[in-house]
Amino acid sequence: MSAPERLGHLSTGTCRQRLVDGTIGRVGWGNDRGPQILPVTYRVFEDKVVFRTDARGPLASLQGGEPVVFEVDGFDPSTRCGWSVVVRGRAYSTQHSPRATRLWGEADPVPWAGGRRSMFVSITLDEVTGRFVERQQEDPADEREEHR
């Protein structure tokens, strides 16, 4: 029998921190074949989620403000605890962004998608929400502030 769990919403500050700390997230968007999901390696730059992609790949259709959803999460199936942060915003792309290239170089994220990823896509953080499930034997101190 599992210990009683607590279910709640993460504060905006915690959501932002989880986004900054993360490296892998999933982009969801719609095209003529319906909803799509792809994992990407990302960074948060200038208050946007930024990832690189192949200019000929499926994510390259995100260019001019398409509505998208972006999700990061952390789950532990053995304890059945976890959290997720969901960003809803718009996606914009650029092939030439010296600033993004420099920031990306400094951050040096290890890519999940290989190949030439000449296109930067950034997602605005229009709506950021987060949820968690935890159990009492987990480190509650870590999350306690989120109930304020």
Binding site: L7, G57, V69, A113, G115, V133
Partner: protein, 143 residues
Amino acid sequence: MTTTADTSSHFRPLTQAECQQRLEEHHTGRVAWEAADGPMMLPVSYELHLGRISFRTSPYGVLSRLVEPTNVAFEIDEIDTAAGTGWNVLVRGRAQAVTSTFTLSNLWKLEGVVPWATGTRNLFISIEPRSISGRQVKAPFSD
């Protein structure tokens, strides 16, 4: 079969059998759909039952809108940037409420669909796949 159309050679496609096996072995995924105000995505704990992705949710929650037939994407992955390994499986199909009494009575017995959070989560949604595709990183990452 739909592929994720990645043009790089860093990935190899997973076979249908491999995708199926990973879907059976895992129990946490993300479902995405087109909501009235734009795309939405949420994690769910699920079970692959009779070829469908099934999960439980609250009749009052965001996911409850999937009781009506809805086009969805469902994704699982395991990515380890430190080890340079990773794969993902994408299911595309149609979600709707489970109404068959027979299926419901089976689903209530499955561990995988038990939601991590309690509360009144007595609504079963299942996704009937139209296409299943997956890919795996061939070699450790290098950039």
